[in-house]
Amino acid sequence: MSAITRDEVAHLARLSRMALSDDELDHYATQLDAIIEAVAKVAEVAAEDVPPSSHALPLTNVFRADEVRQSLTPEQALAGAPAVEDDRFRVPRILGEEA
């Protein structure tokens, strides 16, 4: 029984900007199913008295004071950029022609 449908995989693929073939959609639906099943085992261990957590440490209110620290130079910031123009990161066209 597959809980994840092909349509859901197609939706995820689109959100992730991945082009998947029909075969791949089926393939990943099965794999994702197995992954979700495995992760769901955690729920079996979690008793009523264990609240869901989003962080490994039981901490709250970790703040920093509003103090300015040294930034990078533009040269440093842009050093690893594939393309640069006018001290800015140059990126490919954002919206396709159809937009």
């Binding site: 962080h55 209110n61 930034s71 990078l72 533009p74 954002i94």
Partner: protein, 498 residues
């Protein structure tokens, strides 16, 4: 674009408003790193591994930004969450280098509040859905294409100085029942919100620089219906006046479509300052799925009750309350108060009164001569190069008889022209009223000698003719004589009594 006239549209449909306002906080450093937040800095000079999303860099929340957000929530009568988290909003625009924006999703820091605004003397309560904290995005410039807009561009270049600046989003609940006041209510809400931010000192709220941005949601329902229509969300609304115009324009546009039997598409629209109309942006039909999840790099926020109580106790007097108090203290009408409010003159008048001027005089100068000059030079009262203390000094000089209104205007002109303080201008331009009786007497003698015929008329009983001689004295003294005293002296010299 065909539209339906506003009055007709309102006759057939009832508008429902919603407003989403983004306010950039005026913290010294960014939300999750120590980079500066200065507006207009050279590109990519205020960036670091954290706000550029270099591998391994981790965010730490700015306490001042959290505190400012709670203060905004309290000022908007919100409940403050006892515990809440940041959330990741995943998307693929390059305006955030992380591929996601740290925001808040189903656990906003502040929720369920309200803001009372006044429109034409009526109080309208705008319910606040939520106030949450997120980070601003970088600034993209789109290159190529005809319009400079994202559509049709060949590529884009991105400056990440703004990426990571703390941004507060304030969302209203749907606002029904505003009827034909809808545009004014929207503007009044944005105005009041801006003033609250100023009173709290949390942001410079400059709409033209984007530190306050308003998205305007409008939907229409046919009169008699209670089912809300499909809404549009208008962005790029960069002034308070535009908020009002955008609402009006959307009402007129939607009414036309609905009346023709058409359907409103749920979409984002862009407002254009030049035409006062909106054009479609991205359609929201393809559901936006941001795959929100709790931000694993940050721990939850649990504002301590004592902290919140202290922040609440320390809130400044809020603008509406303050306006009511000042109106009572100054004894001005609703209309005059509204005029001062519209002209952004209230703080200036208040400061002028605090510097020692009577309220009526302070109001007279700011709303009269100075408003005229601000208007002439297309600037605001606050940006005129003159201080409330200067105005207070001028009113003092008038009250003591050293200046009359005409001379006072010349003093103001001098101060505005950068000639120094009022006293310096008086000294440099020699503007003081002639209080020296001897000097005044000499001027009068001169004028009488030159106008013997008029003097004779007055002697023979035509007292009204004295006006011409007073005028002569004022002219001879270049406006510096005290006209009332001059009149007395002239009549005395001619041996005439009234």
């Amino acid at each position: 674009m065909t539209v339906m006239a506003f009055d007709e549209a309102l006759g057939r449909f009832e508008p429902v408003l919603g407003l989403e306002t983004h306010v950039e906080l005026g913290t010294a450093s960014k939300m999750f790193c120590g980079c500066k937040t200065t507006f207009g800095a050279a590109p990519n000079t205020q960036v670091c591994p954290t706000c550029l999303a270099f591998p391994g860099a981790l965010p730490v929340a700015n306490e001042a930004a959290i505190e400012s957000t709670i203060r905004i929530g309290l000022a908007l009568n919100c409940s403050i969450a006892e515990w809440c988290r940041f959330a990741r909003k995943n998307y693929f625009y390059p305006d955030m280098p992380k591929n996601y924006q740290i925001s808040q999703y189903d656990e906003p820091l502040c929720f369920d509040g309200y803001l009372d605004v006044e429109v034409d003397g009526e109080t309208v309560r705008v319910e606040i859905e939520r106030v949450h904290l997120e980070e601003d995005t970088g600034k993209s410039t789109h290159v190529g294409g005809a319009t400079g807009r994202i559509q049709g561009a060949d590529y884009s270049i991105v400056d990440y100085n703004r990426a990571g600046i703390p941004l507060v989003e304030i969302v209203t609940k749907p606002i029904p029942g505003t009827d034909r006041m809808a545009p004014e209510v929207a503007k009044a809400y944005a105005t009041e919100l801006r003033e609250i931010m100023r009173a709290l000192g949390v942001s410079d709220v400059r709409m033209e620089e984007g530190s306050m941005r308003c998205d305007v949601n409008v939907s229409l329902m046919p009169r008699g219906s209670s089912e809300w229509g499909t809404r549009t969300e208008t962005k790029n609304v960069n002034s308070l006046r535009s908020v009002e115009r955008a609402v009006r324009s959307e009402i007129e546009r939607q009414a036309h479509i609905l009346a023709e039997g058409g359907k409103i598409i749920q979409e984002t629209r862009h407002f254009h300052e030049d035409t006062g109309t909106t054009t479609p942006g991205r359609s929201k039909e393809e559901a936006q799925d941001y795959r929100y999840f709790p931000e694993p790099d940050l721990v939850p926020i649990a504002p301590d009750a004592a902290w919140v109580a202290r922040l609440k106790a320390e809130l400044p007097e809020l603008p509406l309350v303050k306006r009511k108090r000042l109106q009572a203290e100054w004894g001005v009408s609703d209309l005059d108060m509204q005029a001062m409010h519209n002209a952004d003159a209230i703080d200036l008048v208040e400061a002028t009164v605090a510097a020692g001027a009577p309220a009526a005089d302070a109001r007279k100068w700011w709303m009269g001569e100075l408003a005229r000059r601000a208007n002439e030079s297309a600037t605001t009262l606050a940006d005129l190069p003159i201080t409330p203390a200067d105005i207070a000094r001028v009113t003092e000089l008038v009250a003591s008889g050293s200046l009359n209104d005409k001379l006072a205007r010349q003093v103001l002109e001098g101060v505005l022209a950068g000639e120094g303080t009022p006293d310096a201008v008086v000294a440099a331009r020699g503007l003081e009223i002639v209080n020296d009786e001897g000097e005044l007497s000499a001027i009068i003698d001169e004028v009488l000698a030159g106008n013997a015929d008029v003097a004779d008329k007055i002697r023979s009983g035509k007292i009204a003719a004295v006006g011409a001689l007073v005028g002569g004295v004022m002219k001879a003294s270049r406006g510096k004589a005290d006209a009332g005293r001059a009149r007395q002296l002239i009549l005395e010299k001619l041996g005439v009594s009234e």
